[in-house]
Subunit: 335 residues, 2 copies
Amino acid sequence: MFDSLAIVGATGAVGQEFLHLLEDHLPHVKRIRLLASSSSAGASIPIRGRPHPVETLAQDSFRRIDLAFFSAGAAVSREYAPTAVRGGTLVIDNSSAFRMDPAVPLVVPEVNPQQLAAHQGLIANPNCAAILLAMVLGPLHRAHPIRRVAVATYQAVSGAGRAAMRELEEQTSAVLAGRPAKPEVFPHLCAFNLFSHNSRVDDSGYNDEERKIIAETGKILGVPELAVTATCVRVPVLRAHCEAVNLTFTEPVSEERTREILASAPGLRLVDDRAANRFPMPCEATGADDVLVGRIRQDLSQPDGRGVDLFLCGDQLRKGAALNAIQIAERIMES
Amino acid sequence: MFDSLAIVGATGAVGQEFLHLLEDHLPHVKRIRLLASSSSAGASIPIRGRPHPVETLAQDSFRRIDLAFFSAGAAVSREYAPTAVRGGTLVIDNSSAFRMDPAVPLVVPEVNPQQLAAHQGLIANPNCAAILLAMVLGPLHRAHPIRRVAVATYQAVSGAGRAAMRELEEQTSAVLAGRPAKPEVFPHLCAFNLFSHNSRVDDSGYNDEERKIIAETGKILGVPELAVTATCVRVPVLRAHCEAVNLTFTEPVSEERTREILASAPGLRLVDDRAANRFPMPCEATGADDVLVGRIRQDLSQPDGRGVDLFLCGDQLRKGAALNAIQIAERIMES
């Protein structure tokens, strides 16, 4: 049981979503400590009706803290998470710092909860786009091995934080009013525009976000060598990511079989109404716990029947980040 | 030489772009007749400094007209284009009515101009997303046969016409002001949202837009059986379409070779700056003649070196519609 909880990055977009979810989750936690950089410290945030001060993160912030949730970037996790773990705090880290460390479980509770058993005080929460993808690939792969995945993403600006969400709204207002719109958080205009994901592009031409999806999906599914290609794109949407997914199985898998598997998978909701042209959309995924999946169809370019196309959408801040982390904590408490 | 030109659908988004392009193109045309449905007729539109009345489209509208450009939907083309052709008018049809008719050339001038020689009075202008895709696939396929294409689109609202562009702007204003935003042109909210393309979904699960891309790309490239799968999505962008393209060649093709071919292909502009994270974007493709292409990289999920990923963006109203039609007319005049 966790009596005390610290949230590192409490004032960020994911931290705020975490606090919001605490209204319904982890009711046994009695003491909540909010931590942030010194520039954000000093504020007071109400949780369950009581004000909580935001304190400056320090190496001694985790004394007598059972559980810490980190969402303040990889550098902060690298600097502070090891101290917390050594002090006996269970760390769930939303950054990329430790995700590919072989000693660290990388977990989507609906997909690979068994990896939790081997944790050594730190569990990594996967990349948001990788979580959403794994939620759909996990149950399919368990039933019919997947050979190859090609994914194109439509990613909300929330993945870049609260300032990015404000930038989209302010830029859009400016464009509509005919005023100049200057990018600050992003390298390019986001209002009525889209652009390749704003992470570093390596010598292979893939960007860091794509590398995360490729590597983390393989680790979560337990197939490190899984063939995945990804193209990650930011779209002018506030907080739900979509992904167009082209699958190749090792054997023929019908559209009906795919739908049947996904319909009974935990944490997914089928939105696949061809007559009404109703499929997964950010406006319906926003604020929802479930990942929406639809557009399920046989890929006609793979005439051997091994190909399936589908489309998914999930709240980047919720299942893509804070909710998945909370579910990890809940699983550990149950075990 | 064309002395006289009629534009059917002159008040629509593509018709307006056509008129705009006439400032620089087809200078030898002396007489321009603007045609539209009776609800739009009566207006007056200035072209090259002179007012032109918009007349109601009728079966006798094409008398003494050398060239007619149709962009008022498939039903209008089916009803009026045959009369125009019989009267000796060369018709360039932007609708889907005749595109897959084996007797009708379906042409992207940079890619398959040879098909123009066989025309019988009517030439079809391909679907906007198919034109942009063919511009990139054409030169690649000529050098290295393509085996399979998987494409995910990010399509602007302009493909659904001027009312759709207004809807995006008005809905976005409403959402920002906290007012209710009611979809009218589209079945779903378009402000800060995205949704599967608003065309009919058939029993296979593909929608009409995807079917057009699949069939038309094969016809333009001269490989009707080309294996193509597509996922078409509307995004809150005004008038430039993007496409994430995953290619499989019949032989290994390097990233460098792909870039070399595309760099020298007519009508394309490489935007592929990894260090600056600068790739094709709607805000730079809008109003441009060229199709932008970048994110060119070896697809690491195809370890035999036959896979390439890339991303393209082009103005839906310009190269995706009006400009391509004008270029068809210009090619015919040159021949």
